[in-house]
Structure formats: structure tokens, C-alpha cells
Amino acid sequence: MVTQRLLPSAAPLQLIDPDGRPGQNPGGLTFPEPDVLISLHRGMVLGRRFDTQATVLAKQGRLAVYPSSRGQDACQVGAALALRGQDWLFPTYRDSVAILTRGVDAAETLALLRGDWHCGYDPYERRVAPQCTPLATNTLHAVGLAHAATLQAKDQVALVLLGDGATSEGDAHEALNFAALWKAPVVFLVQNNGYAISVPLAKQSAAPTLAAKGIGYGIPPLLIDGNDAAAVYAAVAAGVERAATGGGPTLIEAITYRVEAHTNADDATRYRTDDEVRGWLDRDPIARLEAYLRAERLLDDEAASRLAAEAEQLAADVRDRMSTEASADPAELFEHVYARPTAALERQRATLLAELEELEESAP
């Protein structure tokens, strides 16, 4: 039965449990090699420190806003590390850590949220699309890019990140449908963190799980523990492998939790309890993997403190670079609207520059 084959597991697949022991429900996931586990741990420790630093910078007003991914560290890092160099990542505004893990410079990653420009990095350099602020629109871009790879016989997979709330958008539906029809080499990773700002998943969807939605499109889904970095890595890697070998798209739902509020401007106490948050802190993705690595003697105190120092260095670097004044050039406002500025835009630029010159002259 086709439908039977498309059924996701009843419980989330897990390779390492919250106490750091081998998971009870590995499904068909391949347990990552030790060097991968060490990279996942390193990525999460660095990512967490970056995220904490960015949250502080937002509270200090040095960033315009920061949507934290604390708690979703395993999804961020597991997903980014499972991609090959030639693959593409399509992130949202909450996926700064995934972008950083992909190798994009920290300050360039934060350009959008600092307000320097809408996207601070060159998407073609690390094959990372601009962070997408509208919901689920990036799913279609990923499907289009992936299908273009097929049409041009390029070995390339697109991974698109979206949240539980974004699955309600029409574009998510259209993207899943197009991807399945075209057998596009694309992986959809839904980070189900429980809330769309304040609205819980129960008010978002009546589906048994979000993974189950794959059945309707003819897309094989995976339901995984999104706080288990090994499981996220294994699931995304399996999706990439399937896509790259002509098997078409995969829909992954990763169950996780947004520990911080939606952004620094949000008050999460209005819609969820402290008890609920504490329960999830006990399922911390980093502590879990660290416990496993120590038990397996893949991590010791010395390596851990070296890593902590590296994380502090990253945070200091981010602090320094975010503390210098941005050098935004008003003339650039007119540069990238069209391939060449129109005559009207040239006139508007001249007007603005004259205005600024006048201000400068009249300054005491």
C-alpha cells in the first residue's frame, strides 16, 4: 500500500535520548560517525554562544531585533552540517545559527537583524539564500532552485527550513505539491517548536502530525526528535541522499521547542507557563549530546574547555563588530533596484545627496 509506506512513525525517531543514552526509537536512521557527533557538539556550543550574544545585543539595542533559536540548536546545526558544499540552504529569520554553521561570517549573518541591509552575505558564496521573513515563501524558491538543478543536470539539493506555523501558509502547500510532482531534489525541515509567536500548534493544525501531511502529497515523511542532533543530522542526510539519487523530496518534522520568546520584543509569559519551559530545558540538545560524548569518551574536560574558550572568542568578536558604527551608505539605496539605476532613481539619489551635503554644511 502506497499510503502505508508514506506513514510517518507514531513516535519521533530518536538516536540519543535526553539522558545521553542510545535512543529507543532509531527507526531506519543511520547513527552518525564519531567525528560527525563531535562536529555537531562543537557547532551547537558555538551556535548557542552566538545566539546568547545576539540576544544580549538586541536587548542593548545594538540589533534591531533578534529571534532566538535557543532550544532548537540541534535542528540548526544538524541540518546545516548534513548538507554538502554544492547544496543550498533556504533559511528563515530564526535560522541565524544554521547560517553561521554553514560558514557564513557572523557579522554578515547579523546584517539583516542589525538593520545594515536586508541581507549581509553573498548567497552564492556558501549557497545560503537570504533569510526569509515572510512565512513559507522560501519553500517555493527552494523547489524552483532544486528543479533547475535537475533540468541542468547539476548534483544539487535544496534544504528549506520552516516552522510549524508556516505549514499553514498556502505557499507551503504549493511547494510540497510542486516538489512531489517534479521529484525535485529538496528537503523540507519543519522545526515544530510548538508556537507561531503565541499560537500553539493545536490552534494551527488538526493534522495528527505535521509529518503526516506528506502522505497527501506523496512525499515520504520523517517524524524526529528535534532536540537530538544525531537524529536531525541523520534524517536530513538521508533526505539529501534520497534527493541526490533521484528519489525526490522528503518532509521532516522535528519536534523541538523555542526556549526564548518569539523575539526580544515578545512576552512569552502571556501564552505559556514556566513549568512548560522548564520541562523543555531538561531536554536540552547540547547537554544530551555532551552526556553521550563523555560516556563514549569522545569528549573530555580539556576538549570541552577549549571549545568553551573558542565560543567566548566568537562572542567577543561578535560584540566588537556589532559595537562599531555601521557604515551604511545612503547613496546605495538607489543602486540595486534594477540592474542599472533608472534616470528617475539617478535624480532621486542626487536629491538625497544634495540634501545631505546641505545638512553637513549647516552643521556647526
Binding site: P134, L140, H141, A148, L151, D171, L181, V337
Partner: protein, 344 residues
């Protein structure tokens, strides 16, 4: 679709003028673009085996294969959204929206992504996407089949919006749009799909952002685009009988706007009338009138007038004739241009 002589591809064959409809000219432009550039792909609803509901893509899937010309699910946002991703990865997508009002589901992809991605990425990501939209009324279409949606797009920086008024220009403009590094909304005046012109189809001509003087005149500048170009030319002929020498400008490019050609003409004639099917309120003509007033005020002999559709939802087929601008309304507007003041 009317069968017409289409000059076969190849420059020598095109040296001989032949009668061609706008629909056939558009078809030829797509075929020649597909042949000229491997990166071009054509997709949308019913564009494959059927050749599109207006047959603009007739025969293309057979000629170029289903990997170059293909049908999609009925999902306009999906069509534009995937076109964006394809353009990011080296292709030049030319997509069809089946009708003007059926393009609205794609609005977010058009305005938030297609128009902005170059800007968002400081020029690093170019999106050479063409969205073909049959637009406007005059064909007796039932509701949602006759909208003039140009102002939604022209109000969005980052988009080019063009519309041809003649078959030969339909060919040229579409070739130019497909070669353009910017995203282009290509509005096809569906009431003129079957109008014929004896012409040579050539990819060389005025650049994509230039307006063209279709008829020279001394007394008044009549400004039109798309389906209204032919109406304006008819009105100019009728006005000649009343001794008004009317210049007709076909805008071609609604965005960007060709200030130079327009101000040159209006400064010379001192009078201007703008014609469009769309509702007048906050319509495209308001922008034209404002620009020309700002730039030609001291040359103007009369207020700039607009002849537009009423400020109503597009009417049912039996009533559309009362809504659409026609020769009489254009002549009435010309008559109201304060001729009695001349020489006063």
C-alpha cells in the same frame, strides 16, 4: 486562433513584411527566445499540450521538449515562487498567468521577492524572470477575466512593467523582456491578440524602456498603452477631421517611465490626454499627469486630462462597452482642452 503567415525563424526570411497577429508574434518571440538561449524555460497553466488558453505557447512544447516548456499545477504563487528559485540557479523563466485577475495569488511572490531580491542582496542575486499576463477587457469575458492590473505592478519598485500596442512591438518587447536582467511584468492586451499588422518581426528596435511616437502631431499629445493604442490612433484619425493634429504616444514601458520622450512631446504640443481602461482613481494616468505637470507646467495650455474606465469593479460582458474608453470619449476630452483660450 486565426491562422496567419508567420515568417519562419532566420533573419533573411524576416526581411519580407507579412501579415501577423499579436498572438502569432508573441508565439514567435517565445520560439525565437527558446532557440536563442538554452537557459529559457516556459511554464504555466495549460501552456504545454494545449498551447495556452490563448494559444500563445502553441507548438512550443512539441518543438522544444517538455523540459523546456511545461504545464504546472494550478497554483500561481507556486509558478512565480519556483520561477524565482530557478532564476537563482541559472535559468531564465518565462511564465504565464492565465488571466489578469488569476495572477493575484502570486502577488506576495511578485512584490516581496521577485521585485526585491536584487535589492535585498545588494545586487548579488539577479532574477531575469518574465511574467506574461493577458490583461484588460474588451473580449466579453465573464468576471475576473478583464482586469487592468498594471498599477499594482507599477507601484512596486524593482519590477519592469511593459505592454505592447502592436504585433511587431509584441515580438520586439517580449524578446527584450526575456533578455532583460530585471524581472519584467509583460502585460498582453488580450483584446488585440487577433489584430493584424503587416510587419517584419525583428528583435532590434527601440530599447525596452522607451516610449514610441506612433503618430506625429502638433496640437495635442494622446498618451496610451496596450489595448488603448489602437483606440487612440483611431481617435487621432477622427480628430483630424475636426482639424486637431493629434500626436499619439505608445508608452510601451509603464515602469520605468520614459520622461524624455513624453516631456519632449508635451512641451511641444502643450496639451495632453491620457487613456487607459483601468479605473481612473489612483490609476496609472494619475502618475503620468503628475509627472508631466511637474516637468512641463510652463508649456501647458490646458489641464492634463484622463480618459479612463469608471471607478467600478470590471463590468459584466453586456455592460463593458459603457465602461471602456472609446473614440468619442477621447474626442470629448480633446475638445475640453481650452482651445478657445488659444492666443488670448
Amino acid at each position: 486562433m486565426t491562422t496567419v503567415m508567420i515568417p519562419p525563424a532566420g533573419d533573411t526570411a524576416r526581411q519580407v513584411p507579412a501579415p501577423v497577429t499579436m498572438a502569432a508574434a508573441l508565439n514567435q518571440a517565445l520560439a525565437d527566445s527558446l532557440a536563442a538561449d538554452d537557459r529559457v524555460v516556459v511554464f504555466g497553466e495549460d501552456v504545454g499540450a494545449l498551447g495556452g488558453v490563448f494559444r500563445i505557447t502553441d507548438g512550443l512544447a512539441g518543438k522544444f521538449g517538455e523540459h523546456r516548456v511545461f504545464d504546472t499545477p494550478i497554483a500561481e504563487s507556486g509558478i512565480v515562487g519556483t520561477a524565482i528559485g530557478m532564476a537563482m540557479n541559472g535559468l531564465v523563466p518565462v511564465v504565464e498567468m492565465q488571466f489578469d485577475a488569476f495572477a493575484y495569488p502570486a502577488f506576495e511572490q511578485v512584490t516581496s521577492h521577485l521585485a526585491k531580491l536584487r535589492n535585498r542582496t545588494r545586487g548579488r542575486v539577479a532574477l531575469p524572470v518574465v511574467i506574461r499576463v493577458p490583461f484588460g477587457g474588451g473580449i466579453g469575458g465573464v468576471e475576473h477575466h478583464s482586469d487592468s492590473s498594471e498599477a499594482y505592478y507599477t507601484h512596486t519598485p524593482g519590477l519592469r512593467v511593459v505592454t505592447p500596442g502592436t504585433p511587431a512591438d509584441a515580438y520586439l518587447l517580449l524578446r527584450e523582456a526575456i533578455r532583460c536582467p530585471d524581472p519584467v511584468i509583460f502585460l498582453e492586451p488580450k483584446r488585440r491578440y487577433w489584430s493584424k499588422e503587416t510587419a517584419v518581426l525583428t528583435p532590434d528596435g527601440p530599447p525596452i524602456d522607451r516610449a514610441v511616437v506612433r503618430r506625429t502631431g502638433r496640437d495635442v499629445t494622446l498618451i496610451a498603452y496596450g489595448g488603448m493604442v489602437a483606440t487612440a490612433l483611431e481617435a487621432a484619425e477622427a480628430a483630424a477631421e475636426e482639424d486637431w493634429d493629434v500626436e499619439v504616444i505608445d508608452l510601451r514601458s509603464l515602469s520605468p517611465f520614459d520622461d524624455q520622450t513624453l516631456t519632449e512631446s508635451v512641451s511641444r504640443t502643450g496639451r495632453a490626454v491620457i487613456v487607459h481602461e483601468a479605473a481612473g482613481f489612483a490609476g496609472y494616468g494619475a502618475e503620468v499627469a503628475a509627472r508631466l505637470t511637474e516637468q512641463c507646467f510652463h508649456y501647458l495650455e490646458a489641464p492634463i486630462l484622463r480618459v479612463t474606465g469608471f471607478d467600478i469593479p470590471y463590468p459584466p460582458p453586456r455592460l463593458e462597452q459603457y465602461h471602456l474608453p472609446n473614440t468619442d470619449r477621447i474626442l470629448d476630452a480633446i475638445a475640453r482642452l481650452q482651445w478657445e483660450d488659444e492666443g488670448a
